[in-house]
């Protein structure tokens, strides 16, 4: 197996006296599409933040391959309404972004028409496409997304996941996505990780849904995974 791009080695994180992550180890390899699931407060976002270097681990460490190029899509930005910022000038804050590169990335995520719109006036779906375009500026080989579909309706969720899947396919970039829904993971998912302070179980979606640890964690909620499917009920221009 190839060397992992990003890996966590026995990390422990406690926040406000509560142990959020306990002895978590995982490795993300090039091209893998990993869905991270777990109940509320399971430490999914904390794990992501620790992997990204936004949160320090109290024990253990995170290692990055020299070839790692990260693209991070946060849950939501909290931008002051008094800050006049268009989509374009937001993307220009990425170090060394050229106008044509920005336009290209916005085009890929279908957000080119939003370039001159104020960031604070975007809808949930538009926002996610802009954040995704910003993540693409770095030409990432690992995309990290924190509940990207949280603020979207079912149709919006499906088309966003379809877009992420298409990006992964065309660029070969790996994906680590926190899923806000226990039962719905990206169709292309190669590995599901169940987190509840520690990693309860992981593997291919078909294996995990038969895993007793998955059933124990989610009880009656532990159903088979549904996969996001793109419904071709409309024409792409």
């Amino acid at each position: 197996m190839t060397e992992p791009l990003l890996s966590a080695h026995n990390i422990y994180v406690s926040l406000g006296g509560r142990d959020v992550l306990q002895d978590v180890s995982l490795a993300l390899h090039p091209g893998e599409i990993v869905s991270l699931i777990g109940p509320n407060g399971a430490g999914k976002t904390t794990l992501l933040r620790t992997l990204l270097g936004l949160q320090a681990a109290h024990r253990g460490h995170v290692s990055r391959a020299p070839s790692l190029r990260l693209g991070y899509v946060p849950q939501k930005l909290n931008i002051d309404p008094l800050l006049p910022l268009t989509v374009q000038s937001f993307l220009q804050l990425w170090p060394g972004a050229s106008a044509s590169h920005i336009e290209g990335c916005l085009d890929i995520t279908g957000a080119k028409h939003l370039a001159t719109r104020p960031l604070q006036k975007l809808s949930g779906g538009e926002y996610q496409r802009v954040l995704l375009a910003r993540a693409l500026l770095n030409a990432p080989n690992l995309l990290v997304l924190d509940e990207p579909a949280q603020a979207l309706d079912v149709h919006g969720q499906a088309s966003l996941y379809e877009l992420i899947g298409a990006l992964a396919r065309s660029t070969g970039c790996g994906v680590l996505v926190v899923s806000h829904d226990l039962h719905i993971v990206m169709r292309q998912t190669t590995r599901v990780i169940c987190l509840h302070q520690h990693i309860c179980c992981q593997g291919h979606p078909a294996e995990v849904e038969r895993d007793p640890a998955y059933a124990a964690l989610f009880g009656a909620d532990a159903k088979a995974f549904a996969l996001y499917q793109h419904h071709h009920d409309h024409h792409h221009g």
Binding site: G16, R49, L52, G53, L54, L70, Y72, P74, L77, I79, D80, L82, L83, P84, L85, T86, S89, F90, Q92, L93, W94, P95, R134, N138
Partner: protein, 277 residues
């Protein structure tokens, strides 16, 4: 025959040739300060740090006490204390207290300790009002020279790091992942804030300096489309507030710093009305 209003006389009498020296100095000092309060005020507003600026300004009084005690230049002592206080504040923000509670405790405490320290100084009778509300009319040529150098340096630093400071302000997490030196940039911003407060304390006073940072920035928003435009517009609005406040203060013989703040608040009100229509 009714007596003519006093200000009609004064406005016709004062020209650039015979403007009183103290008024000219105040105008130059205030204008230099306005250049800096524009962009820094915007950054503070965007980062939701208005109260942080306030606490920092209140702590400046401790710097004044230190300067008087050790016979140091006030500006540098205030800057030094401001920088130390800012770093302590940042460290405390990691605690479990809500941010506004923390600032609500530290801000009046710093002010009170400053007043106590100044009163305890042996053998000095200090005009406290001058530091609380500033005394822009007492500014000297030497002060203006120091101020001009300080403002020039600060503006150069701001221009050089503007995009990076903006990136950290817009989305700190993204800036960390992008590899910006976030901790250093935040420290830089604190030092610049301490600097503008130190520069402004003598002129506008510890109680009112944040008004000159926050109000013009909030006013500028109605007229601009980019962050850089807003920074420039805020400086312009600061400048108009300083000039308007000085003029009102001179004509009606009212305290200068409150007149400047009132002028800024009037501009803010007008901007809201324009924006609504």
């Amino acid at each position: 025959m009714p007596k003519p209003l006093p200000f009609t006389n004064i406005t016709t009498i004062i020209t650039m040739d015979n403007i009183p020296a103290f008024l000219l100095n105040a105008l130059m000092g205030g204008s230099l300060l306005a250049l800096l309060t524009g962009p820094l005020g915007c950054l503070l507003v965007w980062r939701k740090m208005a109260f942080f600026g306030d606490a920092l300004a209140h702590a400046a009084l401790l710097g004044v006490a230190l300067a008087l005690f050790l016979q140091l230049p006030v500006t540098f002592a205030v800057m030094g204390i401001g920088a130390v206080f800012a770093i302590v504040l940042l460290a405390l923000q990691r605690s479990d207290l809500a941010n506004d509670t923390l600032l609500g405790i530290l801000s009046p405490t710093a002010l009170s300790l400053g007043i106590i320290a100044i009163n305890l100084l042996p053998g000095v009778r200090v005009d406290l009002t001058g530091y609380l509300f500033g005394d822009i009319l007492a500014i000297s040529h030497a002060d203006i020279l120091t101020l001009a150098i300080g403002v020039a340096v600060a503006l150069l630093i701001l221009a050089r790091f503007w995009t990076q400071l903006l990136a950290v302000t817009v989305a700190r997490d993204l800036a960390v992942v992008d590899g910006y030196p976030v901790a250093r940039l935040e420290l830089l911003l604190l030092l610049l804030t301490a600097m503008v407060i130190a520069a402004g304390v003598q002129m506008v006073g510890v109680l009112l300096i944040t008004a000159l940072l926050i109000i013009p920035a909030a006013t500028a928003r109605a007229f601009v489309h980019t962050p850089a435009q807003m920074a420039l517009a805020a400086s312009g609005i600061s400048l108009v507030a300083v000039m308007g406040g000085l003029a009102c203060s001179y004509v009606w013989d009212i305290p200068t710093s409150p007149a400047i703040v009132a002028a800024a608040a009037s501009l803010f009100t007008i901007s809201r009305l324009i924006n609504r229509s």
